[in-house]
């Protein structure tokens, strides 16, 4: 039996994430197109949620890779994924502090 390839894992994850985020954005846009007097939650809020999902998606992808490499006991690449993750978080923190 062939072990699950990391390529299929990531392809599946990114596909699901893209569909989810896109659907949320599309739903928000439809809401804002058809309701001038926006009900709660407003179309713009729904769109913003979808955008937030898109921003999170690459981070989830790196976490998936980290877990995969750790399970494979491929420690060099686990370390690489951890460094990428920490760098992204550091960058976020600087962005928030510079606000």
């Amino acid at each position: 039996m062939k072990p699950i390839r990391i390529e299929s894992l990531l392809a599946g994850g990114l596909n699901v994430g893209t569909w989810l985020a896109s659907s949320v954005i599309a739903a928000g846009l439809v809401l804002s197109l058809f309701y001038q007097q926006t009900p709660f939650p407003s179309g713009a809020q729904v769109v913003t949620t979808g955008i937030g999902l898109f921003v999170l998606l690459p981070i989830v992808r790196v976490i998936l890779m980290l877990i995969f490499f750790a399970k494979e006991r491929d420690y060099k690449f686990t370390a690489a994924a951890a460094v990428v993750l920490l760098t992204i978080f550091a960058s976020f923190a600087i962005g928030i502090l510079a606000k």
Partner: protein
Amino acid sequence: MNNGTELWLFAVSLGASALGGMLGMASGIFIVPVLTLWGHVDIRSAIGASIVSVIACSCGSAAPFLKSRLTNVRLAILLETATTAGALSGVLLAGTIPASYLFFIFGMILLISAQQMLAKRRDPALASIQSLTRRSTTWQLDSSYPDRALGRDVAYRVQRLPMGMGLMYVAGLISALLGIGSGVLKVPAMDTALRLPIKVSSATSNFMISVTAAASAGAYFVRGDIVAPVAGPVALGSVVGAILGARLLMSISNERVRLLFVVVLVALAVQMFVAAFGKDLFRGIA
């Protein structure tokens, strides 16, 4: 924001992302100028929308590349340590360098890349097949991909990794400073330093772009620079366009991708120089 504007944003993003996906780069470099010059969107909203579109493009087009084994995921995560470190430096540097300097630097980098692409018309990976018996790195990055046009698997080696890492750091830095995906810098870096087959470069670059962009997108999102009525249609159009572009990349030959890449690089360089010098020009008139 009326319905017509939303549709226009959607259509423009679709076109830009189809072209971007075909070349293994995100649409950021097209989206920002189109939104600001034609759409009269303010530059901060345009950059915010562009960053989201860059992530959407990269994530939306990744699956077919991954499934056809064009993407080298191990190489990607290794190079991402350099691109995100570059992005981190870019976030720290942001605001200290005048925009016109940045446009000029970017224009120069584009021209150099175009020149390199023209000079090496042969696929770099084909030249290295003879030496495949020797393993050069301890990272086990060498791989192979199925080439539809050639009808067989093409094995390739990853060469000059330290140089590739250095170029990736610069790509990440420029990406964070200009708010673009920087695939346009990553692909030539992989082509000339790592000597990968161009389709592997495009696919791996496309895969890496979302992570590089996420490093700066989070900050934009928290700061409120991402305006939903602009970024929403742009992101949606980008996903559709990126999927179309990815389909096209796999069905056309390496040589055509390369030629198209050179044309777009030169066109963008001209656009960047106009942005660099045009700003001072307008200031002089005003």
